[in-house]
């Protein structure tokens, strides 16, 4: 084993990371089931397989650092602290949802958690993240903005505009690219002239690093270092996390553009059982404790589904509200 886990974080923090990954996976798999039942409709992009990125990165950030994400953002929201039942209610389109049922799967938002949204136009959140970072710097706040996006977003003009701008204005923004190798069904090397995404920042004088996005502690350590660098230097940084989504782009996508062998190869690297093995090997948790964590996550998710099912639909007059103040 490369390094002992306890040298990185105390037991409680390690177990919390495990809990969050398990909760995220259970939540997403429950979403898939509820989608199949027709309780969740619209587009539903699941995060299963990528948990190490959200958990590792969020753990490395300060509590009041801003987080912005794209449309595959349930995990980012829940790990930041959004109540699973209110996220599930949002996916059901219920009045008790985190955005009153108006945003749905792709638009989770909670300013009390500094969780500044899921955005469904590829790359749209990159300039907005620069803007919240500007506001934080202008107001002499210590916080930074962490902006998650996929490998598809790096070919949008927003990537180039926002990176140029963030460096020019010296904005404390950490760009986290979750490279899961596919923009919907197009593999990264078929869309990017330079598929090594972290190398693309050299044109903007922005340092960057690549990290194994299937290893929660590797992500944690890399993002921790990068986030503190961003905070101290007040300059942007980019982390490219190499990861994989176990499901298709969305529930509408069977993912036939990937070979079964490729998917199996990545499933063998599933961040959750791998982390479990390490926790067991180092005596940080017992089998029974890990099983209890899984049971607790399942209970939380079951309660979330029940809450969403039993929650009321929004009133008709809600349709005119919240557009203007």
């Amino acid at each position: 084993m490369e390094s002992t886990l306890r040298a990185i974080l105390p037991d409680a923090a390690l177990l919390k990371m495990y809990e969050q990954m398990v909760l995220s996976r259970e939540f997403e798999e429950a979403c898939a089931e509820q989608y199949t039942k027709g309780h969740i409709t619209g587009f539903l992009h699941l995060y299963s397989g990528q948990e190490a990125v959200a958990v590792g990165a969020t753990t490395a950030l300060h509590r009041d650092d801003y987080i912005l994400s794209a449309y595959r953002e349930h995990a980012q929201a829940i790990i930041r602290g959004a109540e699973p039942r209110r996220v599930m209610a949002e996916l059901f389109g219920k009045a008790t949802g985190i955005c009153k049922g108006k945003g749905g799967s792709m638009h989770l938002f909670d300013p009390a958690l500094s969780f500044m949204g899921g955005y469904a136009i590829v790359g749209g959140q990159l300039p907005i993240a620069a803007g919240v970072a500007f506001a934080a710097k202008f107001r002499r706040e210590e916080r930074i903005a962490a902006c998650f996006f996929g490998d598809g977003a790096v070919n949008q003009g927003t990537f180039h505009e926002a990176l140029n701008w963030a460096r020019l204005w010296e904005l404390p923004v950490l760009y986290v690219c979750e490279n899961n190798f596919y923009g919907i069904g197009t593999e990264v090397h078929r869309a990017s002239a330079l598929a090594d995404i972290h190398k693309r920042t050299c044109g903007y004088d922005i340092p960057s690093a690549r990290v194994d996005g299937m290893d929660v502690l590797a992500v944690f350590e890399q993002v921790k270092w990068a986030a503190e660098w961003v905070r101290e230097q007040s300059r942007p940084y980019l982390v490219e996390a190499m990861t994989y989504r176990f499901r298709g782009h969305s529930m509408a996508d069977p993912g036939k553009y990937r070979s079964a062998a490729e998917v199996e190869l990545w499933k063998a690297r599933d961040p959750i059982p791998n982390f479990a093995r390490r926790l067991l090997a180092e005596g940080i948790a017992s089998e029974a404790e890990l099983a209890a964590i899984l049971e607790k996550a399942r209970a939380t998710v079951a309660e979330a589904v029940k809450y969403a099912e039993e929650s009321p639909w929004p009133e008709d007059d809600e349709v005119w509200k919240d557009i203007y103040v």
């Binding site: 801003y66 949802g97 985190i98 955005c99 009153k100 049922g101 108006k102 945003g103 638009h107 938002f109 909670d110 300013p111 500044m116 949204g117 955005y119 136009i121 749209g124 990159l126 300039p127 907005i128 993240a129 620069a130 803007g131 919240v132 970072a133 500007f134 506001a135 934080a136 202008f138 107001r139 903005a145 003009g157 927003t158 505009e161 926002a162 140029n164 701008w165 020019l168 204005w169 509200k321 919240d322 557009i323 203007y324 103040v325």
Partner: protein, 328 residues
């Protein structure tokens, strides 16, 4: 009341609001050192410094996107897009993000931001620099749209837009920057968003206009007065929210209406206003509502051809005469 130009009135509004509220910041292409390509931001860098008055790269979509984030983060940004034509590069942030954020996040955040941008035709700048895109913004829920015609309204509306907690697209007209008028000195002088104004009372016909078209409509009304035709001119001042009550009350009084729009005729805002007049004044209308519009063509460069494409005083006057001459 001192007389000043539309440009200086806008400049004064920016200065007054930046003095009043330290969270007001402004940025755009060439707004700081160069003091704005139309000089609306003259003196701002000197007075407020480079933290609050910032030059940006030529990245229109990001000019708006960064303003959205800054507004979310607690500031009141006023972003300038050098001309409305370049706003098309920012339509993703304007329409997909700025207009939607408040609603799709369940009202948990609002964006107190202004996007200022000059537009309109008449300076022989040809097809890519002469557009009147007001209908595009008016069409989209979630955006307030201001279109001042006079220096006083320019100042009062911009101050209201900056203080408003909703995103506002503030459309200035390039040919009005040098126009002069009396402007109240009071730093608390505000023109509310969503309130049209009868700029000239009259009894025979209502001319509904906005921005530079209001100025032309007033000149047409002065011409027609010599022919004993009495025109009431309603200046919309904002397109969203649209003040139906003011123009409907006017048309109920006069019984006739001409809507003047600088934008393209097809699916232009004049159609919307004509419909609202028909719906609101059907029982008092004495003639169908007429429209005077920009021609449905990309703007030609040649002075002679360009003039044909934009409503002129004489085309407005002709439309009024025709409306009054027909027996219905």
């Amino acid at each position: 009341m001192p007389e000043m130009t539309y440009r200086d009135a806008l400049n004064l509004a920016l200065k007054e609001e930046m003095r009043r509220d330290p969270s007001v910041v402004t940025w755009g292409e060439d707004v700081a050192l160069y003091e704005g390509s139309f000089k609306v931001t003259r003196g701002l860098l000197a007075e407020f410094g480079e933290e609050r008055v910032k030059d940006t790269p030529i990245s229109e979509n990001t000019i708006v996107g960064v303003a959205i984030g800054a507004a979310m983060g607690g500031l009141r940004p006023v972003a300038e897009l050098m001309t409305v034509n370049f706003a098309l590069l920012a339509m993703d942030q304007l329409v997909n993000h700025m207009a939607k954020i408040s609603s799709m996040f369940g009202g948990q955040v609002h964006l107190p931001m202004v996007v200022r941008t000059p537009g309109g035709g008449g300076s022989q700048l040809a097809a890519q620099h002469s557009q009147s895109l007001e209908t595009y913004f008016m069409h989209c829920p979630g955006i307030r749209v201001a279109v001042p015609a006079t220096p006083a309204d320019a100042k009062g509306l911009l101050k209201s837009a900056i203080r408003d907690n909703n995103p506002v697209v503030f459309l200035e007209h390039e040919l009005l920057y040098n126009s002069k008028g009396e402007v109240p000195e009071d730093p608390e002088f505000l023109v509310p968003l969503g309130r049209a104004e009868v700029k000239r009372p009259g009894s025979d016909v209502t001319i509904v206009a906005y921005s530079r078209m209001t100025v032309l409509a007033l000149q047409a009304a002065a011409e027609l007065e010599k022919e004993q035709i009495s025109c009431e001119v309603v200046d919309l001042r904002t397109l969203s929210p649209l003040d139906d009550a003011t123009f409907i009350a006017s048309v109920q009084k006069t019984g006739r209406a001409v809507v003047v729009e600088e934008c393209w005729r097809t699916a232009g805002l004049g159609a919307e206003i004509a419909f609202r007049i028909h719906a609101g004044c059907f029982d008092t209308l004495r003639a169908p509502v007429q429209r005077v519009s920009g021609l449905d063509v990309p703007m030609p460069y040649s002075r002679k051809l360009e003039r044909l494409c934009i409503p002129q005083v004489e085309t407005i006057a002709a439309a009024v005469r025709e409306l009054l001459s027909k027996k219905y």
